[in-house]
């Protein structure tokens, strides 16, 4: 224990400065024709670990290898380590640097250990390479200190690698990297293939190890990035597309790609199901590299590569400045006569996001929806769609914003059959020819889990059950393929199995097309599964708003707590059998 403390103090004291240790400028790496890194600019200061995240093949490992001068491709640009350009250093200088000043914990731990050497000897070997670092007589003690500090059991010190568990191998590798007390530690997927308990201890260990030095953590495990790093850089097709404080970036990502990464990462506290990023990496040369997979791309995204820009704390490479706020309500007030129904309601709904509006009957949920749709006139406030103030709603507005009404039966003209009713939005917007419209009607009916045969198309509302009418209303709202869907209790009349299918369809649309959902419900259990953020409304005022996971786990307002308690009381998991 004593040795461990000494060891750490030793490390900390030696290296802390505010000067950047590592500066990467315009780093490009090509493997033949294929360019893996396409101009990376990064800076690393001591004690402020940087996480590099991204999908496999984004160039994360290549970046780590390049810093060690180990990349096998054609490398250009500048990697300045303590004011020395690594790319220009002669090989012997580079060798002095490797392991001694810059150490890397490699991704494939099975290959990184020598199978015929005992662990203790391998750690000692790494130290002996840089003889000048320690006098020989202290060597044995030093190696032991390091092994203690990585919490490797004493009985495994003399074991061969194949006798070790994954966790122990990882500890051995960390010991090898740490033995020369490097200034810069590069950790490539340090917890891959580990079980959660081992991961937790390794992370604790790594936290301790990187204290007081510079570190780069290359990982696709976002929780590792969140726990170990101060800064995070998101790498996509060899470019940094977002960079910022880890906490901020991982909680409020701005780039659609980062948001997709976070959404596809299984977070313990999140209620919403996993959502991915549509398509796959294509390595196109023109325009923004993420454009083919982006749901909010515009023409400029196809033509020009965006530059990484922003304030120093948060940089982003996106022509649209990241995920755009699709709908913004600013201080909306609405009243019916002298009754104030909405008072100073403000909310923001981003592209591809679900905002759940939660509250009891009469709290103003539907009125807010109808105000946004222009069916109720607001007394004050402002509504913005894609950043532009919405005045009188015109066809163009309704083409982008659609609503599923609360009372489906009443929202369908009793004199119209299904084909006419669902096709009506298309007819009004004069989209396509009659036959195209009918095709679209069949498509959306299918999406809403309804039959699309002739008999059903010819049936009238009074032939339908409540659930069928609701699905017709859903199909109709989807017919125009809106960007924003206001869903007012959209599944209140549906049985759970159909509800699940429809919710999943909507979330799929969100993933693939970037549909934004304003989900109005009094069912918190459902809203939790659908929404990214939640707004709790009471008596026409929003009393609490924030990330759904936070509101569910840490409600601040007593009203939210009351709603949650009631919802939890209905949980089947909490039911107890009476003896």
């Amino acid at each position: 224990m004593n040795a461990k403390v000494n060891f750490n103090q030793n490390m900390v004291a030696e290296h802390v400065t505010d000067q950047p240790v590592l500066q990467i400028r315009g780093l490009k790496v090509n493997y033949g024709e294929k360019s893996i890194l396409q101009g990376i600019d990064l800076e690393l200061t001591p004690d402020q670990p940087l996480a590099v995240i991204g999908e496999s093949g984004a160039g994360k490992t290549t970046l780590g290898l390049s810093i060690l001068g180990l990349s096998r491709g054609q490398v250009s640009g500048e990697i300045a380590f303590k004011n020395r350009d690594i790319l220009a250093l002669p090989l012997n200088e580079l060798q002095k640097l490797r392991g001694r000043e810059i150490a890397m914990v490699f991704q494939s731990m099975a290959n990184a250990l020598n199978p015929v050497l005992k662990v203790k000897d391998q750690v000692a070997e790494a130290a002996q390479v840089h003889k000048s670092f320690l006098p020989k007589k202290n060597m044995a003690q030093w190696v032991e200190d390091v092994l203690v500090s990585v919490e490797l059991d004493r009985d495994k010190w003399s074991a061969f690698p194949h006798q070790l568990s994954g966790g122990a191998k990882q500890r051995a590798l960390i010991a090898i990297a740490m033995v020369n007390s490097p200034d810069l530690l590069i950790l490539d997927e340090p917890t891959a293939l580990q079980d959660p308990l081992t991961t937790a201890t390794i992370i604790r260990l790594l936290k301790k190890s990187i204290q007081g030095r510079s570190a780069i953590i290359i990982t696709h495990d976002l929780s590792v990035a969140a726990q170990l790093s101060h800064w995070t850089a998101v790498l996509y097709e060899g470019r940094v597309i977002e960079y910022g404080r880890s906490r901020e970036l991982l909680q409020k990502p701005r780039h659609p790609y980062t948001r997709g990464l976070i959404r596809s990462f299984p977070d313990m506290m999140r209620g919403k199901d996993l959502q991915g990023i549509p398509g796959r990496s294509e390595w196109l040369q023109d325009g923004c590299s993420f454009q083919p997979r982006c749901t909010q791309s515009i023409s400029i995204c196809k033509d020009r590569q965006p530059i990484l820009q922003g304030d120093k704390r948060h940089l982003i490479a996106c022509h649209r400045g990241g995920v755009i706020p699709l709908l913004e309500c600013r201080n909306i007030s609405t009243s019916f006569g002298s009754t104030k129904v909405l008072q100073d309601v403000s909310c923001i709904l981003a592209e591809g996001e679900t905002l759940a509006l939660i509250g009891e009957s009469g709290s103003g949920k539907t009125t807010l929806a109808r105000t946004i749709m222009g069916l109720v006139h607001e007394d004050g406030g402002e509504i913005l769609l894609e950043g532009k103030t919405v005045g009188k709603r015109d066809k163009n507005f309704y083409n982008r914003v659609q609503m599923i009404c609360q009372n489906p039966m009443e929202s369908i003209n009793p004199g119209m059959n299904v084909l006419q009713a669902v096709g009506e939005p298309l007819a009004i917007q004069k989209i396509g020819r009659s036959a195209d419209r009918d095709d679209q009607v069949r498509k959306v009916l299918n999406a809403a889990e309804l039959p699309n045969n002739k008999i059903f198309l010819q049936s009238y509302p009074h032939h339908m059950s409540g659930g069928e009418a609701q699905r017709v209303a859903i199909a109709r709202a989807l017919a125009l393929e809106p960007r924003l869907l206001i869903a007012d209790e959209p599944t209140s009349a549906l049985d759970p199995s159909v509800q699940e299918k429809i919710i999943r369809y909507l979330l799929n649309l969100q993933e693939k097309k970037g549909l934004a959902l304003l989900f109005i419900s009094h069912d918190i259990a459902l809203a939790r599964k659908v929404s990214d953020r939640m707004a709790v409304i009471r008596n026409g005022r929003i009393v609490e708003t924030g990330q759904t996971s936070k509101i569910i786990t840490h409600p601040r307002h007593p009203y939210t707590r009351a709603l949650l308690e009631i919802a939890a009381a209905g949980s089947m998991c909490s039911m107890r059998l009476k003896s």
């Binding site: 109808r370 749709m373 222009g374 069916l375 709603r393 015109d394 066809k395 163009n396 507005f397 309704y398 083409n399 914003v401 659609q402 609503m403 009404c405 009372n407 009443e410 929202s411 369908i412 003209n413 009793p414 004199g415 119209m416 009506e424 939005p425 009004i428 917007q429 009238y460 509302p461 009074h462 209303a473 109709r476 125009l480």
Partner: protein
């Protein structure tokens, strides 16, 4: 709910009786030239001839065939009834509908104007105007239509205002529908039953008013009309002619008006399900 109005009308006793009575007048009027060899203005025989094989209801004071004049009189009545009904209903629909849809100041101004028209005594004005203008058929239609539309304008406005609040109207608005589209595609079809009821009632009032004006002798004297026939017949009550001159005319007029009234009631009942007897809902 989506009701089948035809079936409902068929199942309604008053409606069936009304349609029967109207057909009883309408079909002979249409087939007039086939049912009579004479023309209504033709002096076809001796005066005051009693009913016979060649003059089914005899002749009048100038020797015209009364049966022929009855048939052609039905044409006049029905033409005026139909014309006024259409014109008045259309006016009412345009005025009431636009007031309901546009709302605001326009609604206020127009409806106050309608209120002003409503308090005017229609019959009195009709008499005065006719006395001055001595109207022919088309002028008479315009005159009567302009007097009887205001009431219906109120009805239409009220109905459209309530329809406007229906969920499917707001739904159509959220697809970007214009006011014209809403009117043509949603409101008019649903206005159907009440529209037909109003048309029938307008027709009934118009026929009655025309007969009244003619009876008072303030319309065009060349108009072949049941009203003027009644008036002429009344001059000769000391003779036996009233039996086949006045009675059939009065009867036919009553039949037409009763038929239209019955049909009107039936249509009103159907358009407002609250008026249906419990069993028929």
């Amino acid at each position: 709910m989506h009701d089948n109005y035809k079936t409902l009308l068929k199942n309604n006793g008053m409606g069936r009786a009304g349609i029967g009575l109207i057909l009883l007048v309408l079909l002979p009027a249409l087939a007039a030239p086939l049912l009579s060899p004479y023309l209504p203005g033709e002096y076809s025989g001796s005066i005051f001839a009693p009913p016979s094989g060649s003059y089914w209801l005899g002749t009048n004071d100038v020797g015209q065939d009364i049966w022929t004049r009855l048939l052609y009189g039905a044409r006049t009545s029905l033409l005026i009834g139909g014309g006024v009904a259409l014109l008045a209903t259309l006016t009412a629909l345009v005025v009431g509908g636009s007031a309901a849809l546009c709302g605001g100041l326009y609604d206020q101004v127009v409806m106050r104007f309608v209120d002003a028209l409503l308090v005017l005594p229609a019959v009195l004005i009709a008499i005065l105007a006719s006395a001055y203008l001595v109207p022919g058929i088309s002028l008479l239609i315009i005159l009567l239509a302009s007097l009887i539309w205001p009431q219906a304008a109120r009805i239409f406005r009220a109905r459209i205002l309530s329809l406007k609040e229906e969920g499917y109207i707001s739904a159509a608005r959220t697809f970007g529908a214009s006011e014209t589209y809403l009117m043509v595609r949603h409101i008019l079809p649903l206005l159907g039953p009440i529209l037909s009821a109003v048309i029938v009632q307008h027709g009934r009032r118009a026929i009655f008013m025309e007969a009244g004006l003619s009876f008072l002798g303030v319309s065009d004297p060349t108009l072949i009309s049941w009203g003027s026939m009644l008036q002429h017949a009344l001059r000769y009550t000391y003779l036996d002619v009233w039996k086949w001159w006045m009675l059939p005319t009065g009867l036919l007029l009553s039949m037409t008006i009763t038929g239209l009234a019955l049909l009107g009631f039936a249509l009103e009942t159907i358009s407002d399900p609250r008026l249906l007897p419990a069993g028929n809902r």
